[in-house]
Symmetry: C2
Subunit: 423 residues, 2 copies
């Protein structure tokens, strides 16, 4: 089995995209049964070749150590045989999901007898541009194939040996299935230029999905002429209103901030109504201390909390993805909504209040994929909402918003059947 | 009433977009009733000020004459009081359409009691960039307002006096309604730079919709970082198969090519199976002669038709939008599908055949918004399909495909209601 070798392999991104497109035509017509069989074969083959994948992964780990990667990054990069089994099980879960392709969303007959059907079809070719997590290679491939799409993968250079090994195993598996090997293309290059080529390949790629940090997403959005599904950056707020129940507020804040600080639906800013803080600041302070949360705040926040670090524009605008939080003190829900309007990333925003009018004002007034009343923002997630695996969480408004499951990887087609109708 | 005057008006596109965004927040919360009242008020006011609009339109017509505009362009530009009444009636038809905003697309309750609702909400601010037709000013405004969106209009410089007059009447009308005047912004500039500013105003504009020729659409797609809804270019094919019924084939070709040659769902290329032509070439020739259709074709076509002009790459790739057609002769449906794959614009494509297997191959194999079996491509149109007015016909795959009615101007929001749920 071949692995990535930059000196011996010629990369031709355009040719790879063309091959993916050609394969996508066959794949689009495969039955759910054939696609499921292929996914199960990939799952089994990944487990069989687990040792090979772990071995190749070591090259990336050694490179990471040499380059002084952070513990968190090394952690995301590291593969073990049990992680490979998780990948395989992820594919088996995708098998259980309904195939959206072929679904007739509506149908009707015009007065002249022309039959109109609105039918779901695959998008075609998905370009996936992502950073260090090798699990995306498997997850995205599974979701793409199940929804009848070919995929062109451009992973981060830090994981190139791992990703290359995973894809070579996927290709080996596909050889025993109805899905053409060409349906999964891996851009085996650490060159940024290679990703850049995908940005404008409108003829061959139907959508680009960037997954990673804000900088990656910004680069793709700004440079791509291929339509982009923007995912993931979540600068999420929890607004604790004057009329917030203290226990609900504390448990929601604790969960949103500390359950998994590094994920996109974690809270990054708490907005407190000053009247609530006047009564409950000690409870809030105790929560910060319990989890050793670093608090950045405005001047008003400093009046309530002793150890506040003065917040800068960056504190309001960016994700911490760690046990730190920005604290803003307001005197009305309107002010809270305005702050979110200014700094939010339209991902997930919560209000804690017992006052239904305030809740309504917040839920209607805040422009985000998910708005919460008296619950943690952590529920913005495909598996939490019951969609199954997701390709990402869309923070844009077109096509798909919030967690994107299989239907987000499809489009529709009007299929008209007549017997000579003219207009 | 003020009208456009380039020397006295300072254009600040960013400020206009900000005002639109602010207005969109109020507009998003208005009831269907209030929005309908406003549209009816605009309709009445347009008719009342019909003389003013026609008078202002004359300035554009004079300019058009001076600049030697084609008859077709002058025709699109010319307003009369009966055309203004058509605009008003168009708005009255939009009033009759269902308001998609607030529709709960699905709702469920998680095991922990968290209630999840997927609700339709307006996109926010629509940036409309269009060419000479002043009717777009009214049509797009009506659809935007009805779906709860603010709109920033950038019309073609050829129609600037007409558009400016129409918008000043709309503003006058809005003064008597619940919709803020700021919800309709008109970029009163003939400067291309002004449109360019809209391309990257992601903070304030949620979607750009270009309507016009291929060059305009290409410019927007290539330069915009704001998401774009691509509309309209239709290089549509009709494939007449070996097993095509001759009467159906002739009447479908005639309708698709000659009913309204200038629209995007008109046929631009006929692809003939050579076996069909061998039998029926005289009938096809008679059709061409009847309508004085100019035929461009490949070498094989020249064997069948005496007056064929040799087709160039441009003939295959571009719309004629007139009584000309490109003719390609093939020996299989596969070859026809390949040609469409290569030159089609994913708009509307038809197959004429009595063979169901061939029809299925075509309907499944061709990647387009609308695929037809034994019917004219002219049905790809909101009103023909029963959707009512449309904002354009999407030729892209994301968000909306085919004729775009009101739902295409909305997005969804997850609205979660809990009583303290954490994960």
């Amino acid at each position: 089995m071949s692995t990535f070798n930059s000196t011996t392999k010629q990369i031709n991104v355009k040719e790879q995209a063309e091959r993916a497109q050609k394969a996508s035509k066959k794949l689009a017509l495969l039955s759910q049964k054939k696609k499921n069989e292929a996914l199960l074969t990939i799952a089994d083959t990944l487990e069989e070749h687990s040792a090979f994948i772990v071995e190749e992964n070591k090259k990336d780990l050694i490179n990471g150590e040499e380059n002084g990667f952070s513990d968190a990054l090394m952690d995301r990069l590291r593969l073990t045989s049990s992680r490979v089994t998780e990948f395989a099980n992820g594919l088996r879960e995708v098998v259980e999901l309904d195939d959206p392709v072929g679904e007739i969303l509506s149908d009707w007959t015009l007065e002249n007898g022309l039959k109109v059907e609105q039918v779901r079809v695959p998008l075609g070719v998905i370009g996936m541009i992502y950073e260090a997590r090798p699990n995306v290679t498997v997850d995205a491939t599974g979701l793409a194939l199940k929804s009848g799409n070919a995929i062109v993968l451009k992973g981060g250079s830090n994981a190139i040996h791992s990703n290359s090994a995973i894809v070579s195993v996927i290709h080996k598996a596909l050889g025993n299935t109805q899905i053409p090997e060409d349906a999964v293309q891996f851009i085996a290059s650490t060159d940024r230029e290679a990703a850049g080529q995908l940005f404008t390949m409108k003829e061959h790629i139907d959508v680009l999905i960037p997954r990673g940090g804000g900088a990656l997403i910004k680069t793709v959005v700004e440079n791509a002429t291929v339509p982009v599904l923007e995912t993931g950056v979540g600068n999420c707020h929890t607004y604790v209103d004057q009329f917030a129940d203290v226990e609900k507020a504390l448990s929601i804040m604790e969960n949103a901030k500390t359950d998994r600080p590094a994920v996109c639906n974690a809270a990054e800013t708490f907005i407190f109504h000053e009247a609530w803080l006047q009564q409950h600041k000690d409870r809030a302070q105790a929560l910060f201390e319990k989890h050793d949360i670093e608090v950045h705040g405005d001047e008003k926040a400093a009046e309530f909390f002793p150890d506040v670090i003065p917040a800068t524009e960056t504190d309001w605008a960016e994700e911490y993805l760690s046990l730190a939080v920005a604290v803003k003190v307001v005197s009305s829900v309107e002010e809270a909504v305005e702050h979110i309007e200014c700094y939010g990333t339209k991902h997930s925003e919560a209000v804690v209040t017992e006052d239904s009018k305030t809740a309504l004002h917040f839920l209607n007034g805040v422009d985000a994929a998910a708005v919460y009343h008296n619950a943690s923002t952590r529920f913005t997630d495909g598996s939490a909402l019951g969609f199954g695996a997701e390709i990402g969480i869309s923070t844009q408004k077109l096509h798909a918003r919030g967690p994107m499951g299989l239907p987000a990887l499809t489009t529709i087609k009007y299929r008209m059947t007549g017997d000579g109708q003219v207009r």
